[in-house]
């Protein structure tokens, strides 16, 4: 069976969700990761969606956006964006997910512009990165995306290093990991720099180094991502039957 990188990323991200988490779920792969975690090891995790949705069970059918009817049916509550953002701002959200166009070694994310290219913008990304207890970043691993310093901080990571978030007034904990198509980075507690701590099966370090725009730091105890189980794969394909988000 061929496992697509998108499916692997969803599995890795899902395993980061604890059963006790209140998760602010983003779009695309994070949405699938939440549905997968709910269906497996984190049945009690609560999902907040920025459209105002509060959900404690997986969606009843395939969805493309967080506003598709199958994710509204059977929700705990359909409220407003400000209601769920309120929980985020008061510190009740323990985990947030976001993606981005560019990320740097301090986990700052740019989704606004690169050179002269205009990108869509923040959405709720900046709010989640500012305020969530832990922040998981999910991105396709390419050199043009993994840059030394982002040109525009849309969603704040650790800025320019230790102490930056506190000085700015950011109350959320900042990034804890970047899940990529090649592996997982975590942030050194002292330097706040991203360190490669895990690689996916059949990925060699040279590829990761080539596709990373900063001086790659690798953990001494570099781990290997376990393959998704058949159950996990089946669930991902149930929520994304056409490979809309995980790739054809």
């Amino acid at each position: 069976m061929v496992i697509k990188p998108g499916e692997l990323m969803v599995c890795v991200a899902a395993r980061e969700i604890k059963n006790s988490d209140v998760v602010f779920v983003g779009m695309r792969l994070p949405l699938l990761a939440f549905l997968l975690a709910k269906s497996t090891h984190a049945p009690d995790a609560v999902g907040l969606f920025e459209n105002g949705l509060i959900r404690d069970e997986p969606a009843r059918g395939p969805i493309v956006t967080m506003c598709d009817p199958p994710i509204i049916t059977g929700a705990v509550a359909c409220t407003s964006l400000r209601e769920v953002m309120g929980y985020l701002q008061q510190g009740r959200v323990t985990l947030g997910f976001i993606g981005g166009a560019e990320v740097d070694v301090f986990g700052n994310i740019n989704t606004t512009r690169v050179d002269r290219t205009r990108l869509p913008g923040s959405g709720g990304g900046a709010d989640i990165a500012s305020l969530a207890g832990r922040l998981m970043i999910i991105m396709s691993h390419q050199r043009r995306r993994f840059v030394r310093r982002v040109e525009y901080i849309t969603s704040p990571g650790f800025g320019d290093g230790p102490g930056w978030r506190e000085a700015q007034g950011l109350s959320g904990g900042g990034p804890t990991a970047i899940v990529t198509t090649y592996g997982v980075f975590r942030f050194d507690p002292t330097t706040k720099r991203a360190v490669l701590t895990q690689v996916h099966p059949e990925v060699d370090l040279e590829t990761v180094r080539r596709e990373t725009g900063w001086n790659l730091a690798v953990a001494n105890d570099l781990g290997l991502t376990p393959l998704p189980t058949l159950e996990e794969l089946a669930l991902i394909r149930r929520f994304d039957p056409k490979g809309f988000w995980t790739g054809a």
Binding site: V64, D68, C78, R82, M85, T154, W164
Partner: protein, 354 residues
């Protein structure tokens, strides 16, 4: 039955003609902090409260959407997007609009490509299914079809601006966006410490749109509207806006609204027009009515990547169609049938008696 998808003949608000009422702006106190509406208040206000405000989309747009107006729309995020209204605005070429919204999926990209936008005040502009919005990119990067101004927000900051507007305040507060370039670039978001604790906050200047356009499941003839499903920032948008245009799947008797007042999101006294337009949110989903038309979003992305093709797309799907009925006919009954509710989930009735 709601959302039968059967075209319903449109009624016009004959009763509204010939009356001119002075209606005080409910946001009078906030007026000094925002741009004044350029629309003729007298004409808009001539629609009598307590009477039918039902009219055709063409008439509603002609009456309520003025060149240079600021409009909050697409405020539910990816659902209930008032595409029928936006396409009529493009058809009538009402220009120089300022659009206010959170993530309105590809709505703003379409209106920019349609040439009617001067300024965007939003958290995100693109196509949720594919990423980039090519019309938005062309406008920002190359000034095509015209240059637009963009005020970048996050979802929280733009909703806070509307909430402040709706409360009659000069600004709202957030504790997000510290250290971002959004904060650096946006003159309408500035630091303001808490006067009690000294904790860092950011003040977001209030927004009072001239108009909010909302797609709802149902409303009575006065515009009291029931909305269900996710709400996004619609509650703040309808509170903040001076006037409201409500587009509904179905105009229902007064009693239907009053049988379930907790579901009323929009009180009719601020509504200036009610348009009955079944499938009016297509290709976006509307809870209890129809699903997300995945293919439409992919096709839009392919078709608008290059400017020449985009022009063809706008002719085919917007400018070349006289009204929404023609659009639905072009989609075809089979495509629409495939989007209908297949797994009904009606809510349990609640007791409102005494």
């Amino acid at each position: 039955m709601l959302c039968s998808a059967k075209p319903v003949p449109l009624r016009t608000a004959e009763s509204s003609l010939g009356f001119q009422l002075q209606v005080l702006s409910p946001l009078h106190s906030a007026e000094s902090i925002v741009s004044k509406t350029q629309s003729t208040e007298k004409e808009i206000s001539s629609i009598m409260p307590g009477k039918s405000k039902v009219m055709s989309m063409a008439e509603a747009v002609r009456r309520l959407v003025r060149p240079g107006a600021s409009i909050a729309l697409g405020t539910n995020l990816e659902a209930a997007i008032p595409f029928a209204a936006s396409q009529e605005i493009i058809r009538q070429q009402v220009r120089d609009l300022t659009l206010i919204g959170p993530i309105s999926d590809l709505l703003f990209d379409m209106m920019i490509g349609g040439g009617v936008v001067k300024k965007i005040i939003a958290a995100w502009v693109g196509n949720v299914s594919t990423g980039s919005g090519y019309n938005f990119r062309r406008a920002v990067e190359q000034g095509l079809p015209r240059r637009i101004e963009v005020e970048n927000h996050s979802n929280l900051s733009v909703s806070t601006a509307l909430e402040a507007g709706g409360m009659g305040l000069g600004f709202g507060l957030i504790r997000s966006l510290f250290g971002t370039d959004i904060l650096k670039e946006n003159p309408n978001i500035v630091p303001l410490d808490c006067p009690f604790t000294g904790q860092k906050h950011l003040a977001v200047r209030a927004l009072v749109p001239d108009l909010a356009i909302v797609h709802a499941q149902r409303a009575d003839e006065e515009g009291n509207a029931h909305v269900w499903g996710n709400l996004g920032i619609t509650p703040e948008a309808v509170k903040a806006a001076r006037h409201i245009l409500v587009v509904v799947e179905e105009v229902v008797p007064r009693a239907v609204i009053r049988a379930d007042p907790n579901r009323t999101l929009i009180p009719g006294f601020k509504v200036r027009a009610v348009v009955e337009e079944p499938w009016g949110a297509h290709p976006s989903p509307l809870q209890g009515c129809y699903g997300h038309d995945d293919e439409f979003y992919l096709e839009y992305s392919r078709a608008t990547k290059e400017p020449e093709q985009a022009e063809v797309w706008f002719k085919e799907w917007v400018l070349g169609l006289p009204h929404r009925q023609a659009y639905l006919k072009k989609l075809g009954p089979e495509r629409l049938a495939g989007l209908k509710v297949r797994h009904p989930a009606p809510s349990a009735p609640v007791e409102y008696g005494y």
